[in-house]
Structure formats: structure tokens, C-alpha cells
């Protein structure tokens, strides 16, 4: 069974294009400097619609995490147990990301690591988080 894949929309296309090129690009508001995620047509802080797709540090830490012991979608059944973390980038913005290349029992809140990329289809490459061991 195929994994759920995102719909690419005019609001989100640059994000996915960045991922295909191995770069985590996020919108940064041109008016107030705030980062935002998920992608959106306007800044939630100042309502400015003008933003630049900006490269990020690819570096951050685990703000919280969960371990899936049961699959909620058949496509993930073969992968349990797996971890999903709420990762806070050094820019201060957070993303939900799969944890890769890390024994689950060593995960802790505050663990630092880096963004990597996993290719799914020609169109979709997903960012993932690799804790620094």
C-alpha cells in the first residue's frame, strides 16, 4: 500500500522543490522577519503576504517525540516501531519529522541533530531528522 503523499499546491510548491534539491526552504516574512511553517499565503504575525523562501540551518533539536507502536495507516505497518519528533530548528520554527538512523531507546527531548532527505517519488522528497549520536 502506498504512503499518504502531500498534494502540491501553489502555496507549497517551493517547499517541495527545495526538498527535491536537498534544501529545507521555509518562508520568511519580508515585513517582520518571522519564519512560518506549514507554508501559508500570509504571515500569521503581521498579515503581510510578502515572504521569501529562505534556506535554513538544517540543524535543530527534539522538542518532543512519540513512538508509534501501532500503525494508524496500513502503509506504515511494516515500519513500526518508529519515531516522529517535533523538531525545533535553530531558527526557532518547528517541524514534525520522522527520526532516522537512531536507536529509539536513545531518543530524548533536547537531542540535537540535522535535517536529511528521503526520496519517495519523482515529485516528493521528504525532510527527516537524524539525531547526532
Amino acid at each position: 500500500m502506498e504512503k499518504p503523499l502531500p498534494l502540491i499546491t501553489p502555496d507549497t510548491a517551493p517547499f517541495w522543490e527545495g526538498c527535491r534539491n536537498g534544501q529545507l526552504l521555509l518562508q520568511r516574512c519580508t515585513a517582520c522577519g518571522a519564519w512560518r511553517y506549514p507554508p501559508a499565503p500570509v504571515c500569521p504575525g503581521c498579515a503581510s503576504p510578502v515572504a521569501a523562501w529562505t534556506p535554513t540551518s538544517h540543524s535543530g533539536q527534539i522538542h518532543s517525540f512519540v513512538i508509534y507502536r501501532r500503525a494508524f495507516h496500513p502503509a506504515y505497518a511494516a515500519e513500526v516501531p518508529y519515531a516522529v519528533a517535533l523538531v525545533e530548528l535553530d531558527e526557532g520554527i518547528r517541524l514534525l519529522l520522522r527520526i532516522v538512523d537512531c536507536p529509539l531507546e536513545t531518543l530524548t527531548i533536547g537531542t540535537r541533530g540535522e535535517i536529511r532527505f528521503t526520496r519517495f517519488t519523482d515529485e516528493i522528497t521528504l525532510p527527516v531528522f537524524a539525531p547526532r549520536l
Binding site: 498534494l7 512519540v66 508509534y68 495507516h73 517535533l86 527531548i109
Partner: protein, 385 residues
């Protein structure tokens, strides 16, 4: 307390068959609950002129309230769909009260239901499924289903405040004790803390008993003016106050993952009712997960922030304790009715109809609702007049 004699009242409650109801449809369960609520109130459908309902998640339907009204033969002067997940019952009651106070109608039926369990066994994809808008940023990343968002918040709470698995488990165990005193409850087997700690992980840190049930349900309320309520067969239960809070749309970008909207909706409801937290005799708190109960107890101010774990220990939240919580068993052990059964239970408690789980001298009850991942919160104060 002030002016309670003039406040609109709940005069009828109805619950459908709950749990696993084979062959049920969402509309059928809703109608069953609605007719039971009207029977409870001693009213006929033609005496209702307002209606609020919630379209089912699994069959999102345009003008569902009007479909329900047509099915029951209601002639409406006021009605609309309202879908705010587990906040729907409280927000619908608040809307009904405002409509009654504005003179738009005189008697409102609030009814909705969902064949959530049956549907999970026989999905009908052509009827669609309501989305919540963040799927593209969650499901491809492995975050599927309701528990994980709350589990992320719970994990952060455990990290920051030292909240333990035993404390989350105590909430599940206490609510199961209550469910065993409730004939209609889906869960009939006792649960000990040892059972809890041995139960399977779902999304760690949540085990199976941390999570709400999946249920077929229908629930209904009849609300009318104080003047009309006085002539009806049941002891009226007044809507004394309500409040809502919309702290954020998406928890993941919130500075503090471990807060919820009770911080705002609680004081708003208390102010409207002219009462304090100390006056509350029992609380039916939205319990999508054990953690949801814990964070609300803190954010209402029943205990200090971070001390919710200690608060739930020692029988404090059991019937007979200082603050009985979820006396019906809740979503965790009675049935998942998107919060509707929290309201019907509060009404039973205030009428003195709660049988073996009756809270002594119950005059003021707090009911809450929650929706999204701690994204919308609603508080309701119900009382005897």
C-alpha cells in the same frame, strides 16, 4: 449566583444505544437520541422550533441540520450546522441560549450522532471524510491518527513537570471505575493500575487505556426558556455560563505545548455564572486522552501548573472524592460521543438521576469540550435553579 431563574434550561436529554450498534447509520442514531430527548422533556416534534446538529465526520453532509429536521418533521425558525469536534455540544448550547435570549425561537433541539465504530468496519469512501487541514504536514511524515498530537504534548509535559505513567494511568483507572457504575458504558471490565501498565502501547507515551474509545453514538438535548422549563416534567437544569477559547489553530508552533484553552474559557464561564472554582461540585472534562484531563485540571486552576499528576492521585477525582471527574466514564470508558455524554451526564447528576454514581449535593457542574489538538476549548457551567 445571579439571575439564574431567568436563564435558559436543559429540559430533555437523550442518548442512543451506545458502543457497537450494528446496522446503525449516523442519521438513525441521531434520530433515536433526539426522540428520547423529546420524550424525556415530554415534548412532541411540532413543539420544537430550533435545531442545531453536527454533520458526521465520515459523511460530511451539507445542511445536515435541515435533513435531521425534515426527518423528524420539525418546522424550524432557527437552525444551522455546527461542527467543532468535541466542542460541538458546549458551543451548540451557547448558540441555543443566545438564540433563545434573542427571541429567535422558544425550544431548541441539539442532536447529533455518528456510527463511528460501525463505519470503521464498513467504510464507504464515496461519502468522503472530513479533513482537518494539516494532513499534508503530518501523514507523509508518519504522524497519522488522533493520539500522536496529544502524545507529543503529554511527552513534553512529562519531561518538564515529571508527570508519570502511573498518574496518567490513575485517570484511566478512575474513569473505568465510574463506567462500571454506568449501565450504558462500552467498557465493562475493571481496570487496575497494574493492568494499565501492562496494556499495549499505541503511540508512546500513550497506552491503549489512555485513548478514547471508538463508538457508535447519538446524543441529544432539548433547551428552552426558563418560563417554559418551569411547566415541563423534568427538574430544569440552567445554563449558567459558558466560555470559549481559540488559543491557536496548530499546537505544534505554540511556544508552550503544555497549555490548553481552559486558561481562558474557564474564567469566562465562571464570570458569566457569577461563581468560583470552589463552588463546583463535579466536572465532566473532555477526555480524548488521559492527558487531556490532566492538562485541563491544571489550566482551570484546580491545582498549580505542573501538579495535575499529583492532583489526580489519592481518589481525589473519583465519585466521593473532592472533585469527581467524568462520573460517567467519559470517552475513555463510557463511549466516544464527541462530548455530548459529558453534558447528558451533568444533567443527570444535577437532577439527582445518576444512580450508584450520584455525586452528593450536586448543584453546580462544570462541563468542557475540546477540539483539534488542544486547539479549541469550551467551558460550560450547569446548575440547579
Amino acid at each position: 449566583m445571579k439571575n439564574h431563574r431567568e436563564k435558559p434550561c436543559i429540559v430533555g436529554i437523550g442518548e442512543s444505544e451506545l458502543g457497537q450498534v450494528p446496522q446503525s447509520t449516523s442519521l438513525g442514531l441521531t434520530v433515536q437520541a433526539a426522540l428520547r430527548a423529546l420524550e424525556d422533556a415530554g415534548l412532541a416534534p411540532h413543539q420544537v422550533d430550533g435545531c442545531l446538529s453536527k454533520p458526521p465526520y465520515q459523511e460530511p453532509t451539507f445542511l445536515f441540520t435541515d435533513q435531521l429536521a425534515a426527518t423528524l418533521g420539525l418546522r424550524l425558525r432557527y437552525g444551522h450546522d455546527l461542527h467543532a469536534g468535541g466542542c460541538t455540544p458546549v458551543l451548540a448550547l451557547a448558540n441555543a441560549v443566545r438564540a433563545l435570549e434573542a427571541g429567535l425561537c422558544h425550544t431548541v433541539l441539539i442532536a447529533f450522532g455518528e456510527n463511528m465504530f460501525t463505519h470503521s468496519k464498513t467504510p464507504r469512501p464515496m461519502h468522503g471524510k472530513l479533513h482537518w487541514g494539516y494532513e499534508d504536514w503530518e501523514e507523509p511524515f508518519g504522524l497519522v491518527g488522533p493520539p500522536a498530537g496529544y502524545a507529543l504534548a503529554a511527552k513534553r509535559h512529562m519531561h518538564r513537570y515529571g508527570t508519570t505513567a502511573d498518574q496518567l494511568g490513575t485517570i484511566a483507572v478512575t474513569q473505568r471505575q465510574h463506567a462500571l457504575l454506568n449501565q450504558g458504558a462500552q467498557m465493562r471490565r475493571p481496570l487496575t493500575l497494574d493492568d494499565y501498565l501492562r496494556s499495549p502501547w499505541i503511540v508512546e507515551p500513550f497506552r491503549l487505556p489512555d485513548c478514547a474509545l471508538v463508538s457508535d453514538y447519538g446524543g441529544a438535548l432539548v433547551v428552552t426558556t426558563a418560563e417554559r422549563a418551569a411547566d415541563l416534567r423534568q427538574k430544569p437544569v440552567a445554563v449558567l455560563g459558558y466560555g470559549e477559547s481559540h488559543p491557536h489553530r496548530y499546537l505544534m508552533q505554540e511556544e508552550d505545548l503544555t497549555r490548553c484553552g481552559a486558561i481562558e474559557s474557564g474564567p469566562a464561564a465562571l464570570r458569566m455564572a457569577g461563581v468560583t472554582l470552589h463552588d463546583i461540585d463535579f466536572a465532566e472534562l473532555y477526555d480524548s486522552f488521559t492527558y487531556t484531563v490532566l492538562v485541563q485540571l491544571e489550566d482551570y486552576g484546580f491545582c498549580a501548573k505542573g501538579e495535575g499528576g499529583a492532583f489526580v492521585e489519592g481518589g481525589r477525582i473519583a465519585v466521593g472524592g473532592a472533585l469527581p471527574v467524568n462520573t460517567h466514564g467519559g470517552l475513555l470508558s463510557q463511549a466516544h460521543a464527541d462530548g455530548m455524554l459529558h453534558v447528558t451526564e451533568a444533567v443527570k447528576q444535577l437532577r439527582g438521576q445518576a444512580g450508584p454514581r450520584q455525586v452528593a449535593n450536586a448543584h453546580l457542574g462544570l462541563v468542557s469540550g475540546g477540539a483539534g489538538v488542544l486547539a479549541v476549548h469550551a467551558s460550560l457551567l450547569l446548575g440547579t435553579t
